[in-house]
Amino acid sequence: MDFNYTDEQNALRDTLSRFIAKDYGFEQRRALAKSADGFSRAHWKQFAELGLLALPFPEDFGGMNGNAVDTMLVMEAFGRGLVLEPYLSTVVVAGSLIRDAGSAAQKEALLPAIAGGELMLSLAHYERGARYEVSRVDTAARADGSGWKLSGAKGVVLGGGAADRLLVSASTGKGISLFLVDAKANGVTVRSSMTQDGGRAAEVRLDSVSVDADALVGAQDAALPAIERALDYGIAALCAEAVGIMAALDETTLEYLKTRKQFGQPIGRFQALQHRMADMVMATEQARSMAMMAAVKADAPDAAERRRAISAAKAYVGRQARFVGQQAVQLHGGMGVVDELNVSHWFKRLTMIDLTFGNADHHLGLFSDTLLAA
């Protein structure tokens, strides 16, 4: 058991915190959120130069061979900075999916392009009627000559508007298969909208979209385990992002308690507020422990062990994040609910993180059901 980071990881943390402090000021970020893309292509290029876009990929494909703990450090910093670039969707989820399920040719074609910042991908998997149920896919692909024809609708596809290519899951009769679809292909409609936290997500429609045989990623009818694994990487990353935000909210709130004066003294002198602040710090530290566990277990070879840990972390972090977010707003009083202060933006992002890839109740249920076995 070892809680230390390697020299490389410490260097990565330093780089990230410098980037956030220098290039991700609150006002810059607000302007970006309102821009057409909703993020900065220049930042994306910077990420490529820093090696962030190559982080989880094997060296053979231009990658850095990083693990989920490296990703955790990136996401924690991105949480603090409320980074808008579609790192989670392109690199963490879609990227790891190609890495783990793609053919050699697909990896050769896609991973170096992602790493270089030239290609954005997104997993188009969840559907409106399925809510958080990963195995329920109504979008269908039927064989069409040597290729396939895809029809259906995908909901709230993160970074879908910016994605050059979509990884679309579809039922193929005996199971779920995964296809690479060009976002500009005939029959594909991508309707991107802003999300509550300043990000972007898209509704994707597929009307008889034709793809070639080589668009299939992984084995036919058997893509579900790979999709689950990629989403688990995404969940571990979200947990780390949440912890980054919670730590930032704790610091900001503590500073506010020390400086804001009422009744002739700093409000942090009041025990009712002191105890609430102590509760926030405890929630954050406990959530950090679970985010660490999620990062370590995301790479676990045993799928059942991995999923149990990931659901535990997502459920727990979701609840602690809700607590810390709500308390930070409350302790800031009126300033907690205005748009001009970062507190409301951190709070909104935390709230949306809980609702992404299964909320706390959903994952508590999954974790709880594992208690039935043995």
Binding site: M1, D2, F3, N4, Y5, Q9, V69, L254, L257, K258, G268, R269, Q271, Q274, H275, M277, A278, D279, V281, M282, E285, Q286, A287, R288, S289, M290, M292, M293, A295, V296, A312, A315, Y316, L364, G365, F367, S368, D369, L371, L372
Partner: protein, 398 residues
């Protein structure tokens, strides 16, 4: 970062497990697992067995006869002992007074007291709280008059755990009234056989005799029993409470209790099905398990950060708060799992020699009493509200 145990740590765990399996007397583990009453001798026997193996004080440095183990090793040891149903090694000697003697005691005190703690000769109890000095401990009034070669102690201590068995008591006493209340406190070691000491039981809400009042009436204590300097006792007291808090996290014990809870939930039935299949109940177990998973890692993070064997920092307050809340939550669910069979009260069933017929399941008898008793965990060792004050003031600077 790696949350997995190293091969060395796994081998260490196997060694501990094998020793505990071979050496823990079956009658003792049966009492612990069955929630029966433990006798003084059960605690002492286990301490002597551990001492014979060199593991009597795994948290002590080797120079004092300890095992000198790392935080991870100590945690593994605690977890294995809890899992096997070993009695708790009571903290009063090993984890409270001993670190104070090591840090502030004279050479003669170290030479005399420490070996007798680790080998199970002396049973220690705590003389901190008073009827008028609970959370506000520094307002304590038990008075020790300096008469040159001895002190004369008068006053009353309370919430004294298992003092009915004790050979020695460590006491905070008032030796000065100048300045702030914290400034006139001294730390005395008192032989419980000294004339003038009276121990009176306080019966707890589970009907058991676990705690006492201790009265001091003109009790003569040799001056050589003063630890450190006169009027510096508050410093030692705070040092001691820091040591108490890490033990209170009790992760290993809570893991064993959670396992027992799940076993109960599989055996109890609801609507003709095992209770564990009742989603509402199962989710409550799941929620406390999540808290415990997080605390297990937080505990290791805090312990690993304490490289040297110094007193744990204010972070230990987090462990105390979360650990005690989890202990209570598990105890409550164990009782709730029984449904209406939580009602019958059979104190005789806690006697290991009792052979009567249980009312309801054979595991039922101790559970409600345990729930009532465990309301103490958020109160003792510095109440959780005091711990939050510590976090706010010492960590956060509020």
């Amino acid at each position: 970062m790696d949350l997995n145990y190293t091969p060395e740590e796994q081998a260490f765990r196997a060694e501990v497990r094998a020793f505990v399996a071979a050496s823990l007397p079956a009658d003792i583990s049966a009492k612990v697992k069955g929630g029966k009453r433990l006798a003084k001798d059960d605690f002492v026997r286990w301490q002597k067995i551990l001492h014979a193996r060199g593991w009597g004080a795994v948290m002590w440095p080797t120079q004092f006869g300890g095992a000198g183990w790392s935080a991870v090793q100590q945690y593994i040891f605690d977890e294995e002992c809890a899992e096997a149903g070993a009695p708790l090694q009571l903290p009063f000697g090993l984890k409270m007074v001993a670190p104070v003697i090591m840090a502030f005691g004279s050479q003669a005190q170290k030479d005399f007291y420490l070996p007798r703690i680790v080998d199970g000769t002396d049973w220690w109890c705590q003389g901190y709280s008073e009827p008028g000095a609970g959370s506000d401990l520094a307002s304590l009034k038990t008075k020790a008059e300096n008469r040159g070669d001895h002190y004369v102690v008068n006053g009353q201590k309370t919430w004294n755990t298992l003092g009915q068995y004790a050979d020695w008591i460590f006491c905070l006493v008032r030796t000065g009234t100048e300045g702030r209340p914290q400034q006139g406190i001294s730390f005395l070691l008192i032989d419980m056989k000294t004339p003038g000491i009276t121990v009176r039981p306080i019966i707890m809400n589970d009907g058991e005799h676990e705690i006492n009042e201790v009265w001091f009436e003109d009790v003569r204590v040799p001056a050589q029993n003063l630890v450190g300097e006169e009027n510096k006792g508050w410093t030692y007291a705070k040092f001691l409470l820091g040591h108490e808090r890490t033990g209170i996290a009790g992760v290993g014990r809570s893991k064993a209790a959670l396992k027992h809870l799940k076993e109960i939930a599989r055996k109890e039935t609801s609507a003709g099905r095992p209770l564990i299949e009742d989603q509402r109940f199962r989710d409550r177990i799941a929620e406390v398990e999540l808290e415990l998973m997080a605390l297990e890692i937080t505990n290791m993070r805090v312990l690993s950060a304490e490289k040297e064997q110094k007193a744990p920092g204010p972070e230990a307050s987090i462990l105390k708060i979360k650990g005690s809340e989890i202990q209570q939550a598990i105890a409550e669910l164990q009782m709730q799992a029984l449904g209406h069979y939580a009602l019958p009260w059979l104190p005789e069933a806690l006697d290991p020699a009792w052979t009567g017929e249980p009312v309801g399941a054979d595991y039922a008898a101790p559970l409600s009493g345990h729930y009532f008793n465990y309301r103490k965990t958020t109160i003792y060792g510095g109440s959780n509200e005091i711990q939050k004050n510590i976090i706010a003031q010492m960590i956060l600077g509020l």
